[in-house]
């Protein structure tokens, strides 16, 4: 019966140990999918390489289906799974700033750690930038605070917002993802990148 840690089936320290192993698997998957290369990551925005889109959405739908099925079989209690709270304003503002950072830096935090681990200097510089950014936020927190807590909507699921069942929304997402992948594969053929 899961999730294990909130049910106190495993101790806090075991949870941390498992976090380390899950992290190893996470890093391994990211690196071996090519997420340690910023040019591969940025490829999605120019159509020449859609690996980000494919891995990202396949990951999301796999986990989503997994959770829904595990809940169906009574293996995991979805009530205890953390659902990110929705603060509308900060989600959009933060997302826009992150999007700008993504296209400029070519990494996101997880992938930059991965790139840094295999010796990409640009990834290491990106990690340094991350720290500067978070320090910057810490020292200017007062400036953001009002916006940070604006438009709090609770912890809604998209399916609840749309008024449909989790499963039905899951199906929509699966179909949408497959459709996007088909478009992406077409784009990859249409906008090939010259190898260097």
């Amino acid at each position: 019966m899961g999730p294990l840690a909130p049910y106190e089936i495993i101790s806090e320290n075991t949870n941390f140990l498992l976090a380390f192993f899950i992290g190893i698997a996470f890093g391994w998957v990211l690196e071996s999918s090519g997420f340690s290369s910023s040019r591969k990551l940025a490829g999605i925005f120019y159509g020449y390489d859609a690996v980000v889109l494919k891995v990202f959405f396949t990951g999301a739908i796999t986990c989503m289906l997994g959770l829904l099925f595990m809940s169906l079989f009574g293996w995991v209690d979805l009530d205890l799974i953390y659902v990110n709270p929705t603060y509308l304003t900060s989600a959009i503002v933060g997302g826009v700033i992150m999007g700008a950072g993504f296209i400029m830096g070519g990494f996101c935090p997880g992938t930059s750690f991965c790139g840094a681990a295999i010796g990409k200097i640009d990834a290491m510089v990106f990690v340094v930038g991350l720290f500067i950014g978070v320090y910057g936020f810490a020292f200017t927190y007062g400036f953001w605070e009002k916006m940070y807590f604006a438009k709090y909507l609770g912890e809604p699921k998209v399916s609840e917002t749309l008024g449909i069942s989790d499963g039905l929304f899951g199906l929509f997402m699966v179909v949408a993802a497959i459709g996007m992948f088909a478009v992406a594969e077409w784009a990859e053929k249409k906008f090939p990148r010259e190898e260097y």
């Binding site: 829904l68 205890l80 953390y82 499963g167 199906l171 594969e185």
Partner: protein
């Protein structure tokens, strides 16, 4: 295109299945039979009527009385401020927020304590906290709290203190007794039952 087709072949049927099956409405049992037996055996769920009476007199806002009898019985008599959740509809979704919460001390009561105890067993097994059972039920409440019998002259002092308290409580709650005997009515100080810490905890925020 081949890997994409393979992926689609797996995930689309899974998506259709998950969309077609009803969402998981199983109420997950959170307490093992052993744990429940231990708690039930220790009788931790029972709240003495004197404690409830004291809380009622003091208008303690954390007390919430829940009548698990039928609506008809509830209409003919109910304890002050009680709400009615018939045992048969205990698991109805509309009551979940009332039964599974941390703000109030819910006290179930029925005529005896059998039905109330059943309600406690079910909610406890679902992992809900802060639910209790009125010891002795309404029968004891009527017989001993609202119309207390004077203890015999040879009884120990505590018995008299209890009697005084019950008489004054009965007066305040509109029962039989009228005048308290001399001596302090607050002799019996109600002790709020220990509320155990919540076992499960939500994981903290994301990245």
């Amino acid at each position: 295109m081949k890997p994409l087709k393979l992926l689609a072949l797996f995930v689309i049927p899974l998506g259709i299945i998950i969309a077609a099956v009803p969402p998981d409405r199983v109420k997950h049992f959170r307490l093992s039979a052993d744990e429940l037996l231990q708690e039930a055996g220790a009788g931790v769920q029972f709240v003495s009527p004197d404690v409830v009476a004291d809380m009622l007199v003091q208008k303690d806002p954390s007390l919430r009385l829940i009548d698990v009898r039928t609506p008809e019985e509830f209409d003919s008599y109910s304890m002050p401020g009680a709400i009615n959740i018939p045992l048969s509809s205990l698991l109805s979704d509309e009551y979940t927020d009332i039964l599974n919460q941390e703000a109030y001390m819910n006290v179930f009561y029925s005529n005896g304590s059998v039905y109330a105890n059943q309600a406690w067993m079910i909610t406890r097994q679902l992992g809900y906290e802060n639910n209790f059972v009125l010891d002795g039920g309404l029968n004891y409440w009527f017989g001993n709290i609202l119309s207390p019998e004077a203890p015999s002259v040879t009884s120990p002092n505590e018995e008299f203190a209890k009697y005084d308290f019950r008489k004054s409580a009965a007066a305040a709650l509109g029962g039989g007794g009228v005048v308290a005997t001399e001596g302090s009515a607050t002799a019996v100080k109600a002790v709020k039952p220990q509320v155990t810490a919540k076992a499960k905890k939500k994981p903290a925020g994301g990245c």
